[in-house]
């Protein structure tokens, strides 16, 4: 089955949920409503043998409603066909996480959140990945200037005691467990 036939199979199976399909330079793109995108992707992997999630990217259509769109690039090792699935995310809704379909989606989704501010519901660990935790902007959004914006420094803070404070000789020989033998800091006389 080639990609065009698979698009037809998807249209038959999902009916109304497949909003439109486009073809450009021999690549098939399926536009899907966000409510059905996960079911469709699961069907693609299980029934149409798209076992490789090549890429997950996001688009910012600033000035349009809905503004954000998530783009999945699929590939099958068996049939060597490529398929693109696009889904617009209405304001106030999250995209569904596909980490349980392809484990490799984990970092892709973290990157999409970090760079574009698109949330993925059901993601096991949606943290920032390229920028630091606590960075206030989403740099790939269209309103973010190329030169960047000033922001506070990374929220590193100071810990009470850094590891190995007071030099390397913090071990207390002969104590009962490793925590007492190798404490995080040298203890003062009255703590001992």
């Amino acid at each position: 089955m080639n990609a065009a036939q698979m698009v037809n199979a998807l249209k038959e199976k999902f009916g109304e949920a497949v909003l439109s399909t486009t073809e450009f330079r021999g690549e098939q793109t399926v536009h899907v409503s966000i409510a059905s995108v996960k079911a469709l992707l699961k069907y693609c992997r299980d029934e149409l043998a798209f076992d490789y999630l090549v890429d997950l990217s996001t688009l910012d259509h600033m000035g349009e409603e809905p503004r954000f769109e998530v783009v999945y690039e699929l590939y099958g090792y068996g049939h060597h066909a490529h398929l693109r699935v696009r889904s617009k995310i209405p304001d106030g809704e999250d995209a569904p996480s596909v980490c349980d379909i392809w484990a490799g989606a984990n970092w892709h989704e973290r990157e999409a959140w970090d760079m574009m501010g698109v949330k993925f519901s059901g993601h096991p660990d949606l943290r920032r990945i390229l920028m630091w935790e606590g960075y206030p902007f989403f740099p790939l959004r269209k309103e973010f200037p190329l030169a960047g914006k000033p922001s506070d420094l990374p929220e590193v803070g100071f810990t009470k005691v850094a590891p190995m404070a007071d030099g390397p000789f913090v071990t207390s020989a002969g104590a009962a467990d490793t925590v007492s033998r190798e404490p995080r800091a040298k203890r003062t006389e009255d703590e001992k």
Partner: protein
């Protein structure tokens, strides 16, 4: 007038590490406090750049690993949205900076797919030479530093001598040793220089004995085998699920190579094999890289044997800069030059994805165009980024001393991972 004093906290890496370690301790299952958190990197010789690993250790055994990337983030995708297609070529040199020629070619092919162009036969053959030289160069480094990570220093010296020769070839071809920027959308900046083919042939003749030498030094070396076999195993199913690509995927036994499955640049005309591993351990990934270098030599010989003549750039003159002599002599060419230099190539609206089989894996560019000379969105699918994401699954259960071996066998580049 009252003055306000604000306290700023220094972005101290050590303090950040300590804080992260503390927060990791808070979420750990380790109630008795027997486990410790070890911060490896971002400046560590075995992390090949600026990868940072936060490792939770039970004695010498790793129980949890959290890779931290992004220290080399430059915002290449944002930069791409703000410049013409051709202006982005130098940025692709700096993705996988061990194989800049291959990145140049992959980017040019993606843009040409958007434009609907195809470079002529000679241009395609030249690009194959670029890609395969880059592959040898990248694998030479990959194998060399991998061996050094596990204690075999000598190999590194051999492989770097050969890489130096590849840099000399790059200099002949492009004028630059490292940041080549050789391709443009629709072609190359210049044809092969005189004597280049014979120089490459001479290099290949010298390279083959070195590959054999490295093979003798490592493949049956008891220490090397003990330090790499049955370590860092990625099963076939895991490799597929996590989207691993390149030699790491093939090391796990998946016979997938875009040069074979979705041939571009006439790769279907050349006779070569795809090596695959059986167990998916560090040793298999090493073997795959060694064999890929030999196959690249094979491809290079075939390309040069039947190197076609003719033009190297696309015939569509509207998208390419006219010849300099003509620009200086003729009005139309001057206007044409001016338009291309100021407005860029007029791309049609549409979207394409093109993935090329690069030394590290599938380097893909997703270009979303709304027309005009600037991409609306350019997403780089970097193989190193995805290949690293499996670390948190793969490392737990290993000894700390095996981490350099696992990292070396994955052969990643942070410039490409962080973009």
């Amino acid at each position: 007038m009252p003055t306000v004093t604000r306290e700023y906290e220094a972005p101290d890496v050590a303090a950040k590490a300590a804080m992260q370690a503390e927060s990791m301790e808070a979420t750990t299952s380790d109630i008795v406090g027997e486990k410790m958190v070890l911060n490896m990197g971002p400046s560590h010789p075995a992390t090949h750049g600026v990868l940072r690993l936060v490792l939770e250790m039970d004695g010498e055994i790793i129980t949890k690993a959290d890779p931290d990337v992004g220290f080399l983030h430059r915002g290449d995708e944002k930069i791409a949205e703000n410049m013409h297609y051709n202006q982005f070529v130098p940025y692709t040199d700096r993705l996988d900076y061990l194989a800049p020629l291959a990145n140049n070619v992959a980017y040019a092919l993606a843009c040409e797919k958007l434009m609907g162009w195809e470079v002529p036969e000679r241009g395609r053959a030249i690009r194959v030479i670029c890609c395969e030289l880059a592959r040898i160069s990248a694998h030479m480094l990959g194998v060399g530093v991998f061996a050094m990570d596990v204690g075999a220093m000598t190999v590194f010296l051999y492989t770097f001598t050969e890489r130096e020769k590849i840099y000399n070839l790059c200099e002949q071809l492009t004028g630059a040793r490292f940041t080549t920027s050789y391709t443009r959308v629709g072609g190359q900046v210049r044809d092969l220089p005189d004597g280049f083919v014979s120089a490459v042939r001479k290099f290949l003749d010298e390279l083959e004995p070195v590959i054999d030498e490295v093979d003798k030094l490592l493949t049956r070396n008891a220490i090397f085998m003990a330090r790499t076999q049955n370590l860092g195993v990625i099963t076939k199913q895991e490799a597929i699920d996590w989207g691993i690509s390149g030699p790491n995927l093939r090391g796990s036994g998946v016979a997938h190579d875009l040069r074979k499955s979705n041939p571009y640049l006439d790769y279907e005309r050349y006779d070569f094999d795809i090596p695959v591993g059986t167990t998916g351990d560090c040793y298999d990934r090493y073997l795959v890289r060694m064999e890929e270098m030999r196959q690249s030599v094979r491809i290079l010989r075939q390309v040069m044997d039947k190197l076609p003549g003719g033009p190297i750039n696309v015939a569509d003159a509207k998208g390419l800069l006219p010849k300099k002599e003509k620009v200086l002599m003729k009005m139309e060419e001057l206007i044409h030059h001016f338009i291309i230099a100021t407005q860029g190539i007029d791309a049609p609206p549409g979207e394409v994805y093109f993935g090329a089989e690069n030394p590290k894996g599938e380097l893909g560019f997703y270009i979303h165009s709304k027309g005009g000379g600037v991409p609306y969105r350019l997403k780089i699918r970097s193989p190193s980024f995805i290949n690293l994401s499996i670390l948190s699954k793969m490392i737990p259960g290993h000894l700390l001393s095996d981490v350099p071996s696992v990292l070396g066998s994955l052969d990643f580049v942070m410039g490409e991972c962080d973009r």
